[in-house]
Symmetry: C2
Subunit: 374 residues, 2 copies
């Protein structure tokens, strides 16, 4: 058995503008670890995997390759001719892994999430691999830390059919459970009720399975996606930025869909999905509030995004604020939870409470004649 990680790297992360830009998206940003998020993601997965498939658009292919130049685990670069959704992105990589090893296990992991507890992550992935070997599509379910409305939830049922897993016995509270269903992002009351009931986990978009299982499920639930992918797997020039016209045409014919809807939801309804609960310090770093929450309390007292070595910051009566400075000293007075991001060519001022609305501002840049700052 071999295990291959698939890392779809897309999305601009516009709520983290101006650190994240269309031309320099979130997965290429270093939010204080000393490395870009995609580099951290690969480093976290390298000890567990036989190889890693990154999946990017053409615009960022070179940057991703450059970022990962120092990684020793075998890397493959899948460059999408155009964006066709996460199902196509993960599907083509799974099909390519299956081409190289028919017994391959694969796992998809976002390029731009933070996981602070690597040991817990590793244990959860190992447990997921055991369940995947038994034919399940396995997701990691993030133990909720609050009634978040920004994530989908996974409703867990009882232990997997066929008795407890070896992995479950090894890993204590990370034993795999059956998934009853995936539910969409809830409103605040619904989210609160999920937490009160228990048995709900955040859906972080992490899926582990035999490549063959995933492709079989896709063939069953979405043959219109499975068929071109199967064909593409034979024709694809791996690690090349440029594919043939035939490949590009086939690729463009794939219906745009996310993996959750294409495979995970129908498979869950059929009792074919397992969840491994994981309490591993996960964050999607979706906005500046989420970024701030991930900073250890001791480091946040400096009000600086860790790793930011810009000019000094003086914060007066501004607890829990988050500041990123460049060449110019920044003084914040009397704005608790202020977010001040001073980059070379754009300055953002908001608060952690309003951090979600940064997307609105980015959407407004064009009308303000500032399209080049996107």
């Amino acid at each position: 058995m071999t295990f291959h990680a698939i890392i779809p790297a897309g999305g601009a992360g516009s709520r983290l503008w101006p650190l994240s830009r269309a031309s320099h998206p979130k997965f290429l940003v270093d939010f204080g670890s000393g490395h870009t998020m995609i580099h951290d993601t690969v480093t976290r997965l390298a000890p567990l995997t036989s190889s890693i498939y990154t999946v990017t658009g053409t615009a960022h292919a070179a940057a991703v390759r450059e970022q990962l130049a120092d990684i020793h685990t075998p890397l493959h670069y899948v460059v999408e001719p155009s964006p066709r959704g996460t199902m196509a992105a993960i599907g083509i990589a799974a099909a390519l892994a299956h081409r190289s090893d028919p017994d391959a296990l694969v796992g998809s992991f976002a390029a731009d999430h933070r996981i602070s507890n690597t040991a817990a992550f590793t244990t959860a992935v190992r447990t997921a691999l055991h369940a995947a070997e038994r034919g399940y599509l396995v997701t990691l379910g993030i133990t909720p830390t609050g009634p978040a409305t920004g994530f989908g939830y996974i409703r867990a049922g009882g232990p997997l059919a066929g008795g407890p897993l070896a992995g479950g016995q090894l890993a204590g509270d990370t034993a795999a459970l059956a998934v009853e269903k995936f539910v969409e992002k809830p409103d605040a009351d619904t989210a609160a009720s999920y937490l009160a009931q228990g048995g709900y986990y955040w859906n972080a978009g992490i899926f582990v399975a035999h490549a063959a299982t995933l492709m079989d499920m896709l063939a069953e639930y979405r043959p219109d996606i499975a068929a071109p992918l199967r064909q593409l797997a034979q024709l694809w020039d791996l690690d090349s930025v440029q594919q043939t016209a035939q490949v590009e045409e086939l690729w463009a014919s794939i219906p745009k869909e996310v993996i959750d809807r294409a495979v995970a939801e129908p498979a869950a309804a059929a009792g074919r999905v397992a969840v491994v609960p994981a309490d591993m310090g996960w964050s999607d770093v979706g906005d500046y509030d989420s970024l701030a929450e991930g900073i250890p309390a001791g480091e946040l007292t400096t009000q600086r995004i860790p790793g930011n070595t810009g000019a000094p910051v003086l914060a007066i009566d501004a607890p829990d604020s988050l500041v990123y400075s460049s060449t110019k000293p920044i003084v914040v007075v009397g704005v608790p939870g202020a977010v001040v991001i001073d980059t070379e060519n754009a300055l953002l001022v908001t608060t952690r409470e309003k951090a979600q609305d940064v997307k609105k501002a980015v959407d407004g840049l064009d009308a303000a004649g500032l399209a080049d700052l996107r």
Copy 2:
């Protein structure tokens, strides 16, 4: 009769940092009129006066002279060897005006206040001159627009002894009244009671009198200040940056005092002070909130300090905010009343509500290793 304006130009205006600096104080800043505050002050007074005496420290003497190069009214530059308070500053200029014309009337006007209604100001000063000719020390009393706690108040009594003034008949509601007393900055409850009672005006530090009257009062109430000033008036080299050692020594011997305490308060107790109520769009532009209040509503919708021609500003869900940009576009999201001042070498983020606390930040610059930004 001649009338000479005295413009003491001192004080850093630290609550308007970083636009105002110790090295570039508030009176040398252009807050949107197209001219510095001292230039606006001189322009406002020029049509009323025979000459204007500016009083500055050595550090800003050259800058003030440069600022006023295009003014046609005769200007005199009084350069203080060291700061000795407003009594010495106004006193030396009054003594010098008296030296050139024993019948001279003088009036002191801060260099860094805004007056939006020049016609009302002119009328009030003319009324004050009438009262001054009758031997009063005359102050302009600003009609309060709210229960401010940042200003001293003037308690007005009845019409001046000797019947109504000619000026009063000319100027309607600007007739001069006797001053009962000056009161210190009140707390909020006291300020509210002043407004409820009526008859209270803000003390803007504007005093008009015969130079001889002012010097006589000073001789009576503070002979220790009057004596060296009388001597200095004979020895002073007007318009020179450098005085003799004898002058410097005499100057340094003057007790440091403000004109209110040295002369205005005791003279009021003796029935020798008049007040001309004035509703003239006055503001001390004491902080960014005060600065914002002085901007016409139509102009503030741009969120920009008028006259600021820096990079674009995009304000989303940030009503009543005040932004000053330099080379870099600024995006403000979800911070009503935000104040964002981006200068060449320092960035301030606060709110209009907390604008008073900017002083705290400036006081904290030294400890933060940022003393050079003061």
